[in-house]
Amino acid sequence: MTAAAQPLDTTQRERAAFAAVELARHPDRPRALAVIAGAFSDFTELHGDRLFGDDPAVVGGPARLGERWVMVVAQEKGVDADTRAMRNFGMPHPEGYRKAMRLMRLAERFHLPLVCLVDTPAAHPGVGAEERGQAWAIAASLAVMLELRVPTVAAVLSEGGSGGALALAMADRVLALENAIYTVAPPETCAAILYRDAAQKGRAAAAMRPGVDTAHLLGLVDELVPEPAPGAHAHRAVAIAGLRGALERHLDALQRVPIDDLLSTRRQRYRNADA
């Protein structure tokens, strides 16, 4: 189909679809460290994958959520030009996923429930990431999350993009702030793959329906956490408080279930993913 053959409302639809992507990418939305500071207490950041280095795009460590100790593992995008560059815009390298897995294992060893804050456009596409096994690290993280013997909750803050997001999101419960997106790949990448033109990101956004409501309909997200209008970027503290309440509620429910039951439910859920 040529562009000329498309009716005008297609363009409007694409513009609206991409506006939703831009809302999810709003620079003032609450970032992972802000959520950790606002909703958790007694956080101690633990660094490094014990193999290669420390990836600033992934932060994590033990913290308290209310009275309960948990392990937090999060993708951090940064809040200004400097921190965004330092955090690589929340795009982890393999060492970030390997640090995440190390902390998951630590949580398992000491029976700490796992809370993952997902906030990445994608795993980093780069030479070093490929050399050090980006795909291997993500694949391993999927397997670790599926079999981790503690209750697990993940929350998508702004963007959950590609396997780079799923690596921290294969949890017992998956929440998402309601204006977030959760996609198989960023719309620009989808456009490059589908139409061989990254500039057709609006068309890709309209076709892919990246909003978390799609993932919710398909059962990959369990609950959409409401944001105060016009969005979490305008009222960060309110949005964080809402998320905290949802996290506590789900952890309360999960911690009442024997771990073997939790694991068989989790395995069944992902075995039948999207069915």
């Binding site: 596409p125 989808c190 398909l218 992902y270 993913a273």
Partner: protein, 330 residues
């Protein structure tokens, strides 16, 4: 997939344009396409919709009985081409092998039993980029003779029982969508139920964009499959062939106990073009090839195709040996 192919007996499929049409209880396919002196019996062409059937050995190097090497562009007689497992005898290029042809290459003669499960096609987004997505799936199905981008069969490999999960690059770039993920997961469950090793041949561009977030979920579904195989103590060997990228490399392709790759196969997470655009980095020599990755410790070994069966067989024997202690081995 949603439709059931009428079961066709082994005799009547001879010359059936290469379609593999057996149900689970049908007689096994006879393989004959190997370098080990197989003379390409009539049954051998099943599953080979892509290329002309192997003909007499001394066909002239031109015309319909020849294949053109994608590596050097020279023409090779079909019989010689197939006997060499589609490795160019002139330049050594490992040409891409369709899913069922690969399964025939790997299975012991006469042991491959293709499985055609009833798996529903999904179109969760109602995707249409000028051609509706379900029409693209149907076209891919008839062009390749594969039900989906992953096909599964029972077989024996050097005498050991295996489940073969083989990917079809001609099926929308070997992309991983809902139906393909379901087939792979069932293959894993079959391996567990029958205590067979799992052998996968991974050739894929990654997740199937046309299914959006549902395609991403397939990485989880396939992981649920491989973890069951691992938990059952069964070996899982994975072969990465050209190309293997994205959500396939980042899930079941690299969750194996042993990861093999074919010479010069391009393997990675993000494609080279995406990396150049995203980072403006220049790519090092040989970037993302099998050899590059074995040097960096990501792949166990690079195995030329003629040595593949022997290598897989040796590894399966090694990894199966310990089961003799607990008496579970048949």
């Amino acid at each position: 997939m949603g439709r059931h192919r009428p079961g066709v007996g082994a005799g009547s499929t001879r010359g059936d344009a290469g379609r593999v049409t057996f149900g689970p209880s049908s007689p096994p396919v006879t393989a004959g396409l190997r370098a080990r002196g197989g003379n390409g019996g009539g049954d051998a062409q099943r599953g080979m919709a892509q290329l002309p059937a192997p003909g007499p050995r001394l066909r002239p190097l031109a015309g319909p009985g020849a294949a053109e090497c994608p590596g050097c562009g020279r023409r090779v007689a079909s019989a010689r081409w197939e006997a060499a497992l589609r490795v160019c005898p002139l330049c050594g290029h490992h040409a891409r092998v369709p899913a069922w042809a690969r399964a025939v290459q790997l299975a012991d003669d006469g042991t491959l039993e293709p499985l055609h499960w009833e798996v529903a096609d999904r179109d969760p987004l109602g995707f249409d980029d000028g051609v509706p997505y379900p029409a693209r799936v149907r076209a891919a199905r008839s062009a390749t003779g594969a039900d989906e981008a992953v096909v599964v069969g029972r077989a024996e490999l050097e005498g050991l029982p295996v489940v073969l999960a083989s990917m079809e690059f001609g099926f929308l770039g070997g992309s991983l969508g809902s139906a393909a993920g379901e087939v792979f997961a069932r293959g894993c469950e079959l391996a567990v139920a029958e205590r067979r090793a799992l052998v996968s041949v991974c050739i894929s561009g990654g997740a199937r964009m046309q299914e959006g977030i549902a395609a991403l979920a397939q990485m989880a579904r396939c992981t649920a499959g491989t973890t069951q195989v691992a938990a059952a103590g069964l070996p899982y060997l994975s072969l990465l062939a050209d190309p293997c990228f994205g959500g396939v490399t980042a899930s079941f392709a690299t969750q194996a106990d042993v990861i093999l790759a074919e010479p010069r196969a391009r393997i990675g997470f993000a494609g080279g073009r995406v990396i150049e655009q995203a980072t403006h980095q220049s790519l090092p020599e040989g970037f993302q090839t099998a050899e590059f990755l074995v040097d960096r410790g990501m792949i166990d070994c690079v195995v030329p195709r003629p040595e593949l069966r022997a290598t897989l067989g040796r590894l399966l024997r090694a990894l199966s040996a310990s089961r003799r202690h607990d008496g579970t081995q048949a």
